[in-house]
């Protein structure tokens, strides 16, 4: 579209194009807010959006009435009530919960989230609110006592979960780690015999035993003691302070303890 005698230099089409370019450059050059304040946004909107698990009882699952239920859902409700806002639950999986927080689709992650250095680079954590340990579980007749015994065996694990990251570090090179997209697939893989052992949380193994699954998983060895934390975006001092304050209050007045007894069938450990 070079200028010719019949098309003037600033023809209508070229003018529109230049105006569009100029407008986009202006928008791109607009000063960004120096620091996002999620707590103010939550209070203004009157809604707290929380990422919760839907495939990980007793922390989060779908009940018979198709509504989410679990420890994390109740903690989210407690947070929203004590902040004086409405609660909006956003079901997530282990693999998409951090991207959801980073893209601000949710304000908090309450999803049996464990703390580790990689996550600390992109998230901030609250104080711990529930106990949790990860281990390798398998059938009683399989002799596995430590990570080294995994040589030549297949272990199923949920991708992106703490047990995935930890097991990948300590498992021997000839152990086969199969990573599935969510907890349900990992459990299905174990129960259908596609993997010999499963690396998951103690509560999942307890649930399998309680439901009298055909392959009752027995604890082989501990991977990590990793209590649950609430996750939020970095550089949110107001939000972090508020969340920690609510948790401290809930621990003192027994609200968190009664949730622990309701869902984990045991009181909150003293060191939490």
């Amino acid at each position: 579209m070079t200028p010719t005698p019949s098309t003037p230099l600033f023809s209508k089409a070229r003018r529109a194009l230049l105006l569009g370019l100029f407008a986009s450059v202006c928008v791109a050059a607009l000063p960004r807010p120096a620091q996002a304040d999620t707590l103010a946004d939550i209070t203004k909107a009157g809604v707290l959006r929380v990422a919760v698990p839907q495939d990980f009882p007793p922390f989060g699952s779908i009940g018979a009435d198709m509504a989410p239920q679990g420890l994390d859902i109740d903690v989210a409700a407690l947070m929203a009530k004590r902040m004086g806002v409405k609660l909006q639950l956003v079901p997530v999986s282990s693999t998409n919960r951090v991207p959801y927080l980073q893209t601000r689709k949710v304000d908090l992650i309450i999803s049996s989230l464990g703390k580790n250095p990689e996550r600390e680079k992109v998230l901030d954590f609250s104080e711990a609110y529930a106990p949790f340990y990860n281990g390798v579980f398998g059938p009683a007749d399989m002799p596995v006592k430590s990570a080294a015994d995994l040589a030549g065996k297949t272990v199923g694990v949920t991708r992106g979960a703490v047990e995935d990251l930890e097991l990948s570090k300590i498992a021997p090179a000839n152990a086969t780690i199969k990573r599935y997209e969510d907890n349900n697939a990992t459990i299905s893989a174990f129960l259908s015999g596609q993997v010999q052992l499963i690396a998951t949380g103690n509560v999942v193994a307890a649930a399998l035993i309680a439901k009298h699954a055909p392959k009752a998983p027995e604890t082989k060895f501990l991977i990590k003691n990793s209590p649950c934390f609430i996750g939020m975006n970095k550089d949110e001092p107001a939000l972090q302070a508020k969340v920690n304050a609510i948790l401290a209050e809930a621990k003192k007045d027994g609200a968190l303890n009664s949730l622990s007894i309701k869902w984990l069938l045991r009181p909150l450990p003293a060191q939490l």
Binding site: R32, Q35, A36, T95, V98, P99, Q102, E118, V122, G156, R159, G160, D164, L165, K178, R179, Y180, E181, A185, S188, A189, S192, G193, Q194, D235
Partner: protein, 222 residues
């Protein structure tokens, strides 16, 4: 604070990506070749087979074309072990792709056969060829030539559909992308890179299939 792009963090996992590309290519090759073989048999069965075979193949085609690929895959991988059939994930993924491509391609090739003029069959019969010989030597190649673009498209669709096999931990390109994203949380960079790789693989596959078509159908009707 604007998002800081960091494409170099994806390069740390180049070996994982390369393995993913290799597995996707392997699944596509197995699925493509065996799937087309199944389809040729299926198309023959539906047009010239006995009534009972026609019914069975018809049921197979309708069932596969009207259910999601993911469900078929999960059934083969998680469901069959309850019946005693335990398949490792590469076998299960390849099988699911063969079954899936076979069903869709049966219909495509059948369309090509239906477009073959009756005269061809009669001409072959008049040369004392059995129906099977007529099918193999006279009718099949022109039929394939007619529907080659549609068949190529279906093969590319199944190659892109192989991404679903990551759900049963087959270590294809999507599995590699999910793995890398789970480690460095760089969703934008990781998925952009894997999208570009899939695009290049699809274009390469189309070129390959076009070349195969040229080789097979070089003889033009005068």
């Amino acid at each position: 604070m604007a998002y800081q792009f960091d494409f170099l963090s994806v390069l740390d996992y180049t070996d994982v990506l390369l393995k993913g590309i290799a597995v996707t290519a392997q699944l596509t090759l197995t699925g493509g070749v065996l799937g087309v073989a199944v389809a040729i048999f299926g198309a023959w069965a539906r047009t010239q087979g006995p009534a009972w075979l026609r019914a069975i193949v018809g049921a197979y085609v309708e069932m596969i074309r009207n259910t999601p690929f993911l469900i078929q895959l999960f059934f083969i991988f998680f469901g069959l072990p309850s019946l005693g059939v335990q398949l490792p994930e590469m076998v299960a993924a390849s099988l699911a792709m063969v079954i899936n491509l076979g069903a869709y391609s049966t219909e495509i090739i059948r369309a090509g056969l239906a477009a073959t003029p009756r005269g061809q069959f009669e001409a072959g019969a008049s040369l004392a060829m059995s129906p099977l010989q007529v099918f193999r030597h006279v009718v099949l190649r022109p039929a394939l030539q007619k529907i080659w673009p549609a068949l190529s498209s279906q093969i590319v669709i199944v190659m892109l559909g192989s991404a679903v096999c990551s759900q049963i931990a087959a270590q294809d390109l999507t599995y590699a992308a999910n793995f890398i994203q789970g480690r460095n949380f760089r969703a934008f960079e990781v998925y952009l890179v894997s999208t570009v790789i899939y695009l290049l693989l699809a274009l390469l596959l189309r070129q390959l299939l076009r070349g195969v078509g040229r080789q097979l159908f070089a003889r033009r009707a005068r």
